[in-house]
């Protein structure tokens, strides 16, 4: 099926005992894109990915990767996908370069190992046993192992967790280059910035359900209802969101981001802004900034799920 999407999940349900990890989830990943599955820990991201990778059999619904059933057509599919696990995946005594060479030997046309090691900064630790690699080095080796077989689709689970900021940018550049060279990248993350900067398409998942889907721009654009971000100099008094909502009246919603900021969605007019200013004066808080329509993915997530994404 040359035209099948890279990933097609339809009505997926996965339970562990009584706990529902994935609850009737449907999503599509188009080829040659970077698609982010975004959600807090425990949202069902890893379970969904592991079902795409053939580790788990869907309890209900269907999963297709490159048009193939990851469980029943496993042998056909596996050479065509690359998988980066969230952690582990190597013998404790194996040297980094030795492990990468081993995975390369299982493929017919592996990437040039020197080049790949150089791109991921792995030359410096090539002779180091896996157990003595830093978390970031293990992470990069994991990514190298996912890429070395020249797959059509790579699944990367939290690719920059525990990686320093400079290496994070390097990994972002690499993932962008993969897309340019025709590889489809499916990544899970709980870093908003990662999804916003990198992804062509974002699926936001919470409690095993798809809560929103679109390009980062589509998701952050407010539509007819504007978003106002209020930042103050001193922490809000207790019960602030409810009291502000009462002042603003119907058609608005208020959610607190942290001690010093709140998001208000409602009609973006002078009346709303005046009411917010008056409320601040009444409660003895000084607005530091009052931004209109400046919503990022973090805000979108907060408004959709009522909680913050950060772990």
């Amino acid at each position: 099926m040359p035209d099948a999407p890279a990933v097609a999940v339809d009505g997926l349900v996965m339970r562990y005992g009584d706990k529902v990890a994935v609850d009737d989830l449907s999503l599509t990943v188009e080829r040659h894109t970077i698609t982010a599955v975004l959600g807090p820990n425990g949202a069902g991201k890893t379970t969904t990915l592991e079902t795409c990778e053939g580790y788990r059999k869907p309890q209900a619904g269907t999963v297709r990767v490159l048009g193939l059933d990851p469980v029943r057509q496993r042998r056909e599919l596996l050479p065509r996908i690359g998988v980066m696990l969230q952690s582990g995946g190597a013998w404790s005594g194996v040297r980094a370069s030795e492990m990468l060479r081993h995975v390369a030997r299982l493929h017919a046309h592996p990437l040039d190992l020197d080049l790949l090691s150089e791109r991921l900064g792995l030359e410096e630790c090539g002779r180091t046993p896996y157990r003595r690699l830093s978390g970031g080095q293990q992470q990069r080796l994991g990514l190298a192992m996912a890429l070395v077989g020249r797959p059509e689709v790579v699944f990367v689970d939290e690719p920059t967790a525990g990686v320093d900021p400079q290496m994070r940018r390097t990994i972002w550049e690499l993932l962008a280059e993969l897309r340019r060279d025709g590889v489809t990248v499916v990544l899970t993350t709980h870093y908003m910035e990662e999804a916003e900067r990198l992804a062509d398409h974002v699926h936001i998942v919470d409690h095993g359900r798809l809560v929103a889907s679109g390009t980062p721009l589509e998701l952050t654009r407010g539509g007819s209802v504007a978003t106002i971000r209020l930042v103050v100099t001193r922490p809000f008094p207790p019960g602030a969101p409810d009291s502000l909502r009462r002042v603003l009246g119907d058609g608005t919603s208020v959610s607190q981001v942290d001690d010093l900021s709140m998001l208000v969605s409602g009609p973006a007019d002078g009346t709303t802004l005046a009411k917010i200013s008056a409320w601040c004066a009444e409660h003895d808080v000084l607005p530091e900034s009052l931004n209109l329509g400046a919503r990022n993915l973090e805000d979108v997530f907060l408004q959709l799920t009522g909680r913050e994404l950060a772990p």
């Binding site: 582990g88 995946g89 194996v94 299982l106 017919a108 797959p151 280059e177 340019r180 060279d181 590889v183």
Partner: protein, 264 residues
């Protein structure tokens, strides 16, 4: 190749494909054998312990009245070779596989092009490679102690068959332990069972030395392996009953571990 011509080829342009099955198995076997030989504790178990047992048994038997029909070194060498097979196929394999599960190696390889049959074949090939090395070292020490085997053609065939059957039996039992228990528990259980079988399982000491238990110990995989090795190297015969016993253990171990083995 048409697709790579229409699209400008970049560094990461997809070109997926599994290596040929034989090459994957060889790569896996080479890797596992290297890791096994690099691990100090495993090397101790694989070579040092059997050599020490051999030297101690041969020199010690002069002082203890064991009533052997043959020179001590001719009786003990086959037993120590059997012990070496057991240490690698059972203990070393179980411990290595237990930690592979723990560290996610088996999970990682599960999404590589290497199928499970290839993983298993690689493991067995690695065991045979390590055992060949053990055989060479132990035989060299034994020859130095005056070992003079005359197995003949039947004996050589008998040794190869009993090693194959012993490897199959102990490997399936090793995987049973590794697939069901946690890594630490596997480490403890695999060593404990090895020590028990070494002491009471008719590996090094002939079954006749166990008095009333002679019949019973020959049904143990360790006893069958030891007796089979002695039949081949002392009497130059193929020990079909011992091979049959080992095959029964293989079927038992394989059937049970197929049901209980957890890959993660």
């Amino acid at each position: 190749m048409t697709s790579s011509q229409t699209r400008p080829a970049g560094t990461f342009s997809p070109r997926p494909g599994a290596a040929p099955f034989g090459r994957m198995v060889l790569a896996q076997a080479g890797m596992e054998a290297r890791l096994m030989l690099r691990n100090g504790e495993q090397l101790l178990l694989a070579v040092v312990v059997p050599v020490v047992v051999l030297v101690a048994a041969v020199t010690g038997s002069d002082r203890v009245d064991l009533d052997l029909d043959h020179p001590a070194v001719d009786v003990f060498t086959p037993g120590v070779l059997a012990l070496a097979v057991m240490s690698t196929s059972f203990t070393a394999l179980a411990i290595a596989t237990g930690f592979e599960r723990r560290y996610g190696v088996i999970k990682r390889l599960g999404t590589s092009p290497l199928p499970r049959s290839g993983l298993l074949a690689g493991k067995v090939l690695a065991l045979l490679l390590v055992q060949l090395l053990q055989l060479v070292v132990i035989s060299a020490v034994a020859l130095g102690l005056g070992w003079s085997p005359e197995p003949g053609v039947a004996g050589v065939v008998g040794v190869l068959l009993i090693i194959a059957a012993g490897t199959a039996a102990f490997a399936s039992l090793g995987l049973l332990v590794a697939g069901a228990l946690r890594a630490e528990a596997t480490l403890a259980a695999a060593n404990l069972i090895y020590l028990l079988l070494m002491a009471c399982g008719a590996v090094v000491l002939p079954a006749t030395a166990y008095g009333g238990f002679e019949g019973l110990v020959q049904w143990l995989p360790s006893g069958a392996l030891g007796e089979g090795m002695r039949d081949a190297l002392i009497d130059g015969t193929i020990a079909w009953p011992a091979i049959a016993v080992l095959l029964i253990w293989t079927v038992l171990g394989a059937a049970l571990s197929a049901r209980t083995f957890k890959w993660e």
